[in-house]
């Protein structure tokens, strides 16, 4: 008798859920209400070309900069945003997308500086603002970067906030990324991003690689020169592709060997949000003056001569000391290699390109050769190889693969 209510309840719940699931009721969008509350000014992540445009910290409170910003604001911005920054300038009243109110402390706090410079630079000419009918002019053609920063510094004063407008002053600006980080990253990278989550010590115990410590300046996978921080695009590539393991016990039959998962299915906007949070853990992203990226020229055709030159370079550049003559990661120095944390680290087995951490396309190998891998014994060859030589070496590296067919396709 007692099983009947149980069975009925199970069936009822099942039918209810199935019905609701088939009906696919709409879910609210992340920050969807906020977008409406703020008159269409939801702070979406800035695109790559602006993602690294962080305003120098001192400018936010520099009186000369603020004064310069005030002059520009009065001439170019006040007509829509109002003299007091309330978004109620005479020309702004009739606009379909109302100008931002800079006195809205909460709204300004949620706005990241790279979003801000993007908006000032591109105005309403880009999506999603164009689609909302934004009439904001693009100022990048008329105002220098310094002038745009000056305007931002002055606009910032309307919010009443004292000090630089940065995520550690306004944690709410990276709150979406923080929630994603807490769900997807904290197990390995730790609560504070120091690479000390509980998973790391069992993932590859007492040896490299360990989860990245975001608070230091040491990032392996970059398009920036040796010793520099990565770009947002570099971080985006790592989050999207994940990281492959090149050492330790493997899983029989597994094809890719990722130790960090690929988050390619995470919506692009959310990948950028979590990257903004990760950057907020390291103030050096706001303190760097200039960002240079290495130029990866178009891959030249593969020829027998190029491979022969690459083979010679492989010996001359000392690659075989670690990677071994046949590229199996068994060079004479391999057993002694350590990373910057003094943990033993394996030399990559070059016969298995599908385990290359920084990618296995020719341009990925070129980039690795030129930038090196920070914190590992793999140096940067930017100063010792000409671009053509780097291609020779990149192609020769790929030719060591034990999967000739796939490698031939890659190099084609």
């Amino acid at each position: 008798m007692r099983t009947k209510p149980f069975a009925c309840l199970t069936i009822a719940v099942g039918v209810l859920l199935l019905g609701l699931w088939i009906a696919q009721p709409p879910a609210t969008r992340a920050n969807g209400e906020k977008d409406d509350e703020k008159g269409g000014h939801a702070h979406v992540p800035a695109p790559f070309e602006y993602a690294d445009a962080h305003m120098p910290l001192s400018l936010w409170t520099d009186q000369a900069t603020i004064a310069r910003g005030k002059e520009i604001y009065a001439v170019r911005c006040a007509v829509c945003h109002g003299d007091t920054g309330d978004g109620k300038g005479p020309a702004g009243v009739a606009l379909p997308l109302k100008p931002s109110d800079f006195r809205d402390k909460a709204g300004v706090a949620e706005m990241r500086d790279n979003y801000w410079i993007w908006r000032v630079s591109e105005g309403g000419q880009v999506e999603p603002f164009k689609g909302k009918g934004s009439a904001m002019p693009p100022w990048k053609g008329e105002l220098s970067v310094q002038d745009r920063w000056a305007v931002m510094a002055y606009q910032h004063t309307f919010s009443g906030h004292q000090g630089p407008h940065v995520p550690w002053e306004h944690p709410e600006s990276v709150i979406v990324g923080r929630d994603i980080y807490a769900m997807a990253c904290v197990a390995c990278h730790g609560v504070e991003g120091r690479g000390d989550g509980s998973v790391g010590p069992t993932l590859s115990p007492r040896r490299a690689p360990q989860p990245r410590d975001f608070t230091t300046g040491e990032f392996k996978f970059r398009s920036t020169p040796s010793g520099q921080l990565p770009t947002t695009a570099d971080l985006f590539r790592t989050v999207t592709e994940g990281v492959r393991s090149s050492g330790g016990a493997m899983t029989i039959g597994l094809r890719g060997h990722r130790i960090m998962p690929s988050f390619r299915h995470m919506p692009e906007e959310q990948r950028l949000e979590v990257i903004e949070y990760v950057k907020s853990l390291n103030r050096a992203f706001w303190e760097r003056q200039e960002i240079k990226t290495v130029n990866v020229p178009a891959p030249p055709p593969v020829t027998a001569e190029r491979l022969a030159r690459g083979k010679q370079l492989y010996a001359d550049a000392g690659c075989l000391a670690c990677h071994g003559e046949r590229g199996r990661g068994d060079g004479p120095s391999a057993p002694t290699l350590k990373d910057s944390r003094e943990l033993p680290i394996a030399a990559t087995d070059l016969t298995k390109p599908d385990r290359f951490k920084n990618g296995a396309r020719p341009e990925d190998i070129y980039r690795t050769l030129v930038t090196g891998l920070a914190g590992t014994p793999m140096p940067s060859y930017a100063d010792s190889l000409e671009p053509d030589q780097a291609w020779d070496l990149a192609y020769y590296t790929l030719s060591l693969s034990n999967n000739r067919r796939r490698t031939a396709e890659t190099m084609r």
């Binding site: 807490a182 130790i259 299915h265």
Partner: protein, 484 residues
């Protein structure tokens, strides 16, 4: 004696390993675990070492077998479009072979050494169907399953194939709750309840079907480093039916704990004292709701069928600490089993009586992980209600169990484990007997998905020939745990 036993073990391991290797004909290109293959991930990303889950693995499980915050858009349809139907199918399948290769058992009167074939072959079909809905089905083949024959009324050994320990679907209910007014957030393709920067809830997730609601508890009973040993049944010469000769070594905290109970009346199947009930069952029909609240509290409620009755339960896990490679959480469990067992007949204790009993189960568990160390334990108390008055003087209605385990990754490929199981049994006073067992295990992983283990369990209590709980002194197993 010891040298002979060790020599026999060494020879047996070598022969058995080669035999299994040759007979199964493993080729690296074909041996791929399903989730590892679906997500192109190493096993160790989700497991401290298979099969035990690490924190990321727990999160992966909790999200419906998906990379947290990265559910594939369109689910299986997206997978078919992207990878093709064949790859999608193959990526959804996995096989696990687990069990002994060799066994040595010792009691004061009898020493037994024998080859032991793997006792379980499991086929998994698992993966997300949509970003919000996942499926997990386990099919199991046991070459020497010990089952109670309800037709014949006694235990017997036979090969068995069927639905395995678990078979369920998991549904993220965020979208449904959003439809009735709850605030929601889109997190990597899944809809979560809550607001960024405020109250957040991963899920709630509904797990329904044949389930074991254990994964999110501090002492997760599934995926133990130390597998339960097998129930042994023996036939006396001239006898038609087998008697239980040796009860398995299991985490006693989650065992039924009572002597003299029955699962049902008509067939007379006994509820063995080491049967895992509620948690760590072989799966039972039910529904489980769980949600991670504000990233620190994991709440779980559900109902689950057991024998002819059913359980209602709730569990709460609080993640107290997460700093610098150190995590610590505690859990509490409360469960009421409505008519889940049957008392013995007051006159004839060997037969089931007419009364079904309710069971209150409550307990706590904790888990500490620090670097390569993983310590977890549970203390669970059971109490029965509804006992016939005639039995009260003969029957102890309270019982408790304690299980404490330590796993230590001494080397990248070697996991050492130790476990203590303590049972303060209840039930018929003329039958009941406490038990204390300590087990040690060394597990060697030549690859991440294949492990050989040597495990020894020692009965710390006095040998008792007539009681299958203590009818042994020492059991040593050499086995294999193979996922592909």
């Amino acid at each position: 004696m010891v040298i002979r036993a060790l020599a026999a073990i060494a020879v047996a391991v070598s022969i058995a390993a080669v035999t299994v290797w040759a007979s199964v004909g493993v080729r690296p290109a074909e041996a791929i675990p399903a989730f590892a293959r679906q997500y192109d991930m190493q096993c160790n990303a989700c497991h401290t070492r298979p099969p035990r889950l690490n924190r990321f693995g727990e999160q992966f499980h909790m999200m419906g077998f998906q990379i947290p915050s990265a559910a594939r858009p369109q689910g299986i349809v997206g997978s078919i479009k992207e990878d093709g139907p064949l790859k999608t199918l193959i990526d959804s399948l996995a096989l696990r072979i687990v069990g002994g290769l060799f066994e040595y058992s010792e009691s004061p009167r009898e020493t037994e050494v024998k080859f032991e074939p793997p006792h379980e072959v499991e086929l998994f079909i698992a993966g997300p169907i949509t970003p919000d809905l996942s499926l997990y089905v386990e099919l199991e083949y046991e070459p020497k399953a010990v089952k109670f024959s309800r037709d014949r009324g006694y235990f017997e050994t036979e090969h068995e194939f069927g639905l395995g320990k678990e078979a369920f679907f998991m549904l993220s209910m965020g979208r449904l709750l959003g439809a009735i007014g709850a605030p929601t957030m889109e997190m990597g393709g899944q809809t979560m309840v809550g607001r960024h920067g405020g109250f957040t809830m991963h899920g709630p997730m509904l797990m329904a079907g044949k389930i074991d609601p254990n994964t999110n508890f501090s002492y997760a009973t599934n995926r133990q480093m130390l597998e339960a040993t097998e129930l042994e049944v023996e036939k006396e010469p001239g006898e038609q039916h087998g008697e239980v000769h040796r009860l398995p070594v299991v985490p006693y905290a989650f065992a039924s704990k009572f002597f003299g109970l029955f699962k049902n009346r008509n067939e007379g199947e006994p509820q063995l004292v080491t049967d895992q009930v509620m948690y760590n069952t072989t799966g039972a029909p039910g529904a489980d709701f769980h949600a991670m609240i504000n990233d620190v509290v994991l709440a779980q409620v559900g109902f689950l069928r057991e024998n002819k009755g059913f359980n209602a339960y709730g569990a709460l896990r609080y993640d107290l600490l997460d700093r610098g490679e150190l995590t610590f959480n505690v859990s509490a469990l409360l469960n009421w089993g409505f008519g889940v067992v049957r008392s013995p007949d007051p006159e004839e204790h060997e037969r089931p009586g007419g009364t079904r009993l309710d069971r209150l189960r409550y307990g706590i568990a904790a888990n500490l992980k620090w670097k390569a160390l993983d310590v977890y334990g549970a203390f669970i108390v059971d109490r029965l209600y509804g006992l016939p008055g005639e039995l009260r003087s003969d029957f102890d209605v309270s019982a408790a169990g304690l299980t404490l385990e330590v796993d230590y990754l001494i080397h990248e490929q070697v996991m050492l484990s130790g476990r203590v199981d303590q049972l303060w049994a209840g039930g018929l006073k003329d039958q009941k007997m406490d038990a204390t067992v300590v087990s040690f295990q060394a597990k060697y992983y030549p690859w991440q998905n294949i492990a050989f283990f040597v495990r020894d369990s020692v009965n710390l209590r006095k040998f008792h020939e007539d009681n299958p709980l203590r009818s042994w002194k020492n059991q040593l197993f050499v086995g294999i745990d193979w996922d592909f």
